[in-house]
Amino acid sequence: MRPVGVLVFPGSNCEHDVVRALGDLGAPAELVWHAQTDLSGYDGLVLPGGFAHGDYLRPGALARFSPVMGAVAEAAAQGRPVLGICNGFQILTEAGLLPGALRQNTGLTFISRPVTVRVASSQSVLTRTTAVGTRLVIPINHFSGAYTCDDATYARLVEGGQVVLTYEDNPNGSRGDIAGIASAAGNVVGLMPHPERAMSSLLGSADGRGLLQSFVESTVLAR
């Protein structure tokens, strides 16, 4: 099994949690510095949470220009699983690998607490093995998490089954309660909740395990 690459930008801070969570599921994972331009050795990629490049300008706006992003776009185009969590989701939208944008939370507060999300589509590498309608408790931890897009994009996402996770009680003003979306092909997924922080019921929730397990299995299938 080839490892999953977990990208590290200056200011990323969830990369070790992701490596640990994937390791828990039996998947080898390696940290990959953002200056790297060759990602051919990885079957799957994770863009972890944090504050890449200090979140200066807008979250993800500068990370999009990191040298590694060309290879991320290439992997996405090849159908390899690419997962953006929180800041990673923001980077994927800024890079144009996922549609829409994440704006500041409606309440202008940084929200850090577990929320309930509902699986809205199984057409993604993250939700492939979880039934639609399944409710999961997963922590969120963000200031700019309100998903925004134009009407045409929203209609396309809904019709195409690209809305993969929705909030049960919308915490941030996201359009259509969106917590996570996928690309049309389903291999690129971005979500604001942190599944890597929901790996053990002893620590609050183990509901992230199924999502990440699905991602890990998808990396093998994508070879």
């Binding site: 704006r103 500041q104 202008l108 003003g173």
Partner: protein, 83 residues
């Protein structure tokens, strides 16, 4: 020649602007009445080397669209001669 330029970035009309709304709600408490449609945004100041003012503005407009703003949610306006 070097031209001093300014780019103002604000959230697009129709995109919720919680910072602008919060500022607007605070105004009555300070005695300001009749102030409406407050929009919060960012300002960038820089100089551009270009043969003429039009070319300098074109460069500023390009970088405003490609980096300083996210066209999905924001508008960018270029202003010239801010020296």
């Amino acid at each position: 020649m070097e031209f001093a330029l300014q780019v103002d970035v604000t959230l697009r009309e129709g995109i919720a602007d919680p910072a602008g709304a919060t500022i607007e709600r605070a105004l009555p408490a300070l005695g300001f009445s009749g102030v409406h449609r407050v929009r919060a945004g960012k300002t960038f100041l820089f100089t551009v080397e270009a043969p003429d003012a039009a070319a300098a503005r074109a460069i500023a407009a390009d970088l405003a669209a490609r980096l300083l703003s996210n066209p999905v949610i924001e508008d960018a306006r270029v202003r010239g001669d801010v020296s």
